[in-house]
Amino acid sequence: MKVNRRKFLKTSLAFGTTGIILLELQLAQAEWVSTDFAPGSFDATMKQLLKGKTIVETDKINLNIPEIAENGALVPVTVTSSIKDIQSIAIVVEQNPVPLAIQAQLMPELETFLSARLKIASTSFVFALAETEKEFYSIKKKVKVTIGGCGG
């Protein structure tokens, strides 16, 4: 990542306009993709998310989520990790109609920390995925929901 930015700075100095085009390309990569958030099965979502990278289960990610959620419409979740060079964090809820809840691309200026509130339709595993350049790390936790999140 650092080498890339160095390279990018050099290019933008040499060719101002080329630099701008590169920047636009970088932004385009982070664009919202409708297929990622289309209703579908958990396996299909994971396949799309992983883009061929391998997935490793780890305990270095800390997924802080209540074991029993009284109200599935509002479940606080916090993901932190001690793994270095994480580019993005994704949160996937296995039993939701749209399994992928959020995918956050974090620049090196940010600590690996993300907190949000999720809707969880029914009792389900919640996965936190951390992406590095080579692979994905994951951890899962089961959340029991007494009132579903689909009622809004």
């Binding site: 664009e31 200026e109 907190s115 809004g152």
Partner: protein
């Protein structure tokens, strides 16, 4: 009145950025109880956080995020006077932006 609220707090040399956005986050499968029609989907798709003009986080999300979404991020360092700008855009093309200065 902006839909975004931003709060920052110094934590052990880092800065915690918390944001609360008022947004319905409808996923399109709920029914309106009085008319019995589906409520159309209306949710935030992209949220970006910028620190002094540089984007530091881009969050793509679906409707699996709760109504009136809350997010927190942890910025390494951060000095008083730094400007945090948070933007969102939803599936109907609405957008909003809010500026906050770290104190």
């Amino acid at each position: 009145m902006s839909s975004i609220k931003i709060r920052t707090k110094r934590l052990d040399g880092n800065t915690q950025i918390r944001t609360l956005i008022s947004h319905p986050m409808e996923h399109g499968r709920n029914k309106d109880k009085t008319t019995n029609k589906l409520i159309p989907a209306h949710y935030i798709q992209v949220l970006t956080v910028a620190h002094n003009g540089k984007t530091i986080a881009t969050c793509n999300m679906g409707a699996g995020i709760s109504k009136d979404p809350y997010f927190a991020f942890l910025l390494k360092g951060g000095n008083p006077g730094d400007v945090i700008v948070i933007d969102w855009i939803d599936n109907l093309g609405n957008k909003d932006s809010e500026k906050h200065t770290i104190t």
